[in-house]
Symmetry: D2
Subunit: 344 residues, 4 copies
């Protein structure tokens, strides 16, 4: 049973069907195709707002492109110290952003607070041209800890940023899971709360590989995102297959249905673990359960075929394990994992 990551799952049936349907077609390359045009219309509907949008193939590309297009090369982006852009993108934001810096901040359960951000921005050393300028804020929704920001939390953070004319970016690799949990509309969680540009990820939610940068305000652009995408090698010749995936995934609520399922599996996993006396480290609000496990338990579970990451080891011999569910996770797999861990 595989709880290593939602990106270990395959392609969900709806997205696969769209790829199969598009496969025999002939259409223009580089985004001048019917599916890409349709994607823009779908995004306008889903977000109830005009958008500019650029599909890419990885979350790292999406984040890098979004931040590079909206910040100056001498800027700095405030973000959580465990954000994907800090610890999991090997400096990609800095490469795409031609030197753009990150300013990592602490925060419980993977979340930044408006207070932390405000204090940091008021007290960070700022010597004019000598210091990277605070030009951006990046929020991860759902967070790397499997928690979510409520619309008012996003709004409070965005207000602090906008007061200083900083752009507000949302890394939404698991945006679907956040929407599914909170029950707010995509609009309420983004532009209505002050988000200027969203990286909406479908890969973890069932696509072969498809992410899309969704911008809500062209005035936030400091450079041409199409040029930047091209020179990052991220303009797909057969972009229509990325667009078709996104269209199928967003259509008829498929994305939220899959996200609700993944969230429910995580909730049920957490419940079963609590029943065994294993309490989650972070609130389980999306499709992840973080727990402390004895090293021996980890080993035995793995011998029994369970696959998952341990993020760090503690001096008391326990490990911090991350258990991730997906659109493809079954109740049987949850049961198997719980059994494997409890036997241990």
């Amino acid at each position: 049973v595989n709880f290593a990551s939602d990106n270990n799952a395959g392609i969900c049936p709806e997205v696969l069907e769209a790829i199969v349907a598009e496969a025999p077609e002939v259409d223009a390359a580089y985004g001048w195709d019917r599916a890409s045009a349709r994607l823009e219309r779908v995004l306008v509907e889903v977000f109830e707002h005009d958008v500019w949008c650029l599909p890419v193939i990885t979350g790292t590309a999406a984040n890098s492109l979004a931040l590079a297009a909206t910040n100056p090369v001498w800027g700095a982006v405030s973000c959580h110290e465990l954000a994907h852009i800090v610890v999991d993108e090997c400096g990609a934001v800095t490469v795409a952003g031609s030197g753009l810096s990150l300013d990592p901040l602490p925060g419980e359960h993977g979340r930044l607070t408006a207070q932390t951000l405000d204090r940091r921005l008021r007290t960070r050393r700022d010597s004019g041209v000598h210091t990277p300028a605070a030009t951006g804020l990046s929020l991860t929704q759902a967070t790397e800890a499997g928690t979510v920001y409520r619309p008012d939390e996003v709004a409070a953070l965005a207000a602090v940023a906008h007061e200083r004319d900083m752009v507000v970016h949302m890394d939404g690799a698991r945006f679907a899971n956040a929407v599914a949990t909170i029950g707010a509309t995509p609009a309420e969680l983004t532009w209505r709360a002050g988000v200027d540009v969203l990286c909406l990820g479908a890969t973890k939610g069932g696509a072969l590989g498809a992410e899309v940068v969704v911008g809500f305000d062209r005035r936030r652009l400091r450079d041409d995102p199409e040029r930047l995408r091209k020179r990052m090698g991220h303009l797909l010749s057969k972009q229509r297959f990325a667009s078709a995936q996104l269209v199928a995934w967003l259509a008829e609520g498929t994305w939220l249905r899959h996200a609700r399922h993944a969230n429910a599996m995580a909730a049920s996993l957490a419940e079963a673990l609590v029943a065994q006396g294993v309490h989650p480290i972070h609130p389980v609000e999306a499709n992840m359960v973080w727990v402390h496990l004895e090293s021996s338990a980890v080993e035995r579970a793995r011998r029994l075929g369970a696959s998952f990451y341990v993020e760090s080891e503690h001096d008391d011999g326990t490990q911090e394990a991350r258990l991730v569910t997906s659109w493809a996770t079954t109740s049987d797999e949850v049961d198997s994992l719980v059994r494997a861990l409890s036997q241990a």
Copy 2:
């Protein structure tokens, strides 16, 4: 009828089948999967040589990564002045290569000659640390003009480069078409002729989107290609779908079969045009036919539904048109295009 580019075609049946077969599977992300392991074995067989290999999703990414990993940041790569890396990648090599320069050279029919390269390297200004150092050679196979390099031509060029310890890169977005034309083995056209690193493209040959950087000599690496790929945003989480595409495409000669078909369609198109008195500008050696057309002919053909690019316009009112065939081009389409052009 679409002769705009081989990347306007869809997914060939063999590759689609592989995607469908892989879709329901669960496997590790970031290349630690079965399909990626199998890809390496397949490449070893196809090229009859040990390789290091990194799948990516675009040709621009492949070229950028290959050159960045094998040249110093203060290097310069000699290449044809119409190479994709010069005119069609918006500076991507320079971005991935952290300042790596290109040194474009002229050459008839899209081909460089060993003489041109040698003369350039002997006479270019070189003031030590003041001048970008000549560290790489990039050849495009098949070329942007639809011609090919024979093994002895590659070997002569590579010899000039290696004499100066320059790395030899091959942009093989249409490598399949070149192999199909020449009838040499993949090995004879690459490492046996002195190629150090090949970008093998499957996208134009029938894949959804899959290219792979194939290295024949780890000693040519100046930096860690896996780190560079990651920070370019080109490490795919579900890399197995890229690998599965490449495996299916390379298996049982599918790639060469499709390439032979595309080449045959181009040859038949050229023959029919010659019969009409329209002579190709460049030898038709792969899946492209370049012709001069009257502007009025271009307009009429387009009104009749023909899609193709014109690259440049001349003072005499003619245009330089590029007609590209693919695995999906049919004889009927060739006939339709010829009719559309001849009526004009």
Copy 3:
């Protein structure tokens, strides 16, 4: 009276004399001159070790070049969160280092401890190619807080870094002040304690503008520092004037004499302030005194002609003021400043 920065002072007589002597000479450009050759010999003597050395004109250039030459582009450099490379170089390390990241750490009085560094390196998220690799450590000597590292403190920090094969860099913009305070030899404070590359600054110590990157171990070089310097625009045509400054400054202990004077002025300033009941925030170990001042005191002192920076303002109405002395500071100026502040 000017206590804003040691770089507000002019050129000390010894350095000026060297410039005047060199002025009418004709010699080779770009470092192939007699003064540059002599500089290397002087550095070998001063540091009692073979060195490679590259003069540049600013401390930012020196730090950027030293770190870029010794770290991979996907690396990260651990350093104090108030280090010059973090807050005062506008991302220069990242630009020169083609994406190189910084990992800022806290530490009392501007100093890192081996414990803090070790804990950080053991617990920071490290997901292989996904995370910038910890490849460098940068120490500032004397620190931005005006404190110094003792040889055993440097050695303990370097040991933690070397255990992980990280390069150890020292930002020595005020290295002279540190040597003058500690009384250890330059060798004891650098290579004997594990420093691999030092940026030795003369500008704050009396030069017109001259810094030199001094490397103690060529095996730590990952790229050619001369090529990197050139492409940063930091190879001086008349480099001999930078070299001549450095030679004159280092000769016959001039650098240490000036540093001792500056340190003594700071000590005497601190003593006088303590007598007034104003206690330094950080130990006064070099040529800086940090104090909390009432906003009204700051204003009045400025009206009386005193020039100095306040770095931050506190909620209680006090300000954190930085008072810097130099080779040119006189006792009279110290007295004037103390009077100006005490009247307030």
Copy 4:
């Protein structure tokens, strides 16, 4: 006798005097000083136009900064194929410009013509986002061949560029020599002829090291040049010494007096060589004489103590020699060189 480069000469008396006068002063760092303020006023007078200006220490820094501040990162700068930015700056423009490309063009005697530029811009491949955009033109004045552009030639070139909204940059490392030759005003050779940004070099003209980027139109700025300068490590702490050099050099026509002298020495050298039957390769219009010399003549002249560069060697055994004069060259030195060459 040294004819290797004008940067082998020392500091001219007027500039040295300014450094000596500034040396004991205390003033603000980073350009907030009296000399820097005065420099701006002097430039306004010299160019009879409002300017923005940024002093730096090398010509490479000036060119890189000027082009980075006025072009997009995905732009390309048209320039002569032997321009300093192409062959003598090791990719610095690309580094400072975060990937900015160069598009080198041929031209007799180191000069571009409006026809060549226009033809290139009309015929170069331009596939929208796929191709680096033609965004800048860089002219070298005086050229690397020692020739100059007349105001109408500059205007014709600038007109071609401005028609396409390209920025016009002038590399004026030897601008003084051009002004001295042509007898036009600095204004006539720059903004009146369409130059948007000039890099004015004093180093080759007698300074220790001082160049200044002079902008004539803030609307041409695409990024903040002060931020870019800082992150290149080119913001000088004691900038006042660069400014003081430039002020002294520009004051009372010193710069033109020295340039006229250097030009006259070159003219007299050329005349003497012609009398010996050695004819210059390029018109001698500034402070350089290019000649073909037998290899044996080069060797003998060097044995007699003459220092100069040979740029390339020909199959017929001759070498292309560059003889450069400066403000410091004397008639005796010219005579010595001519004798040394004629004996050979």
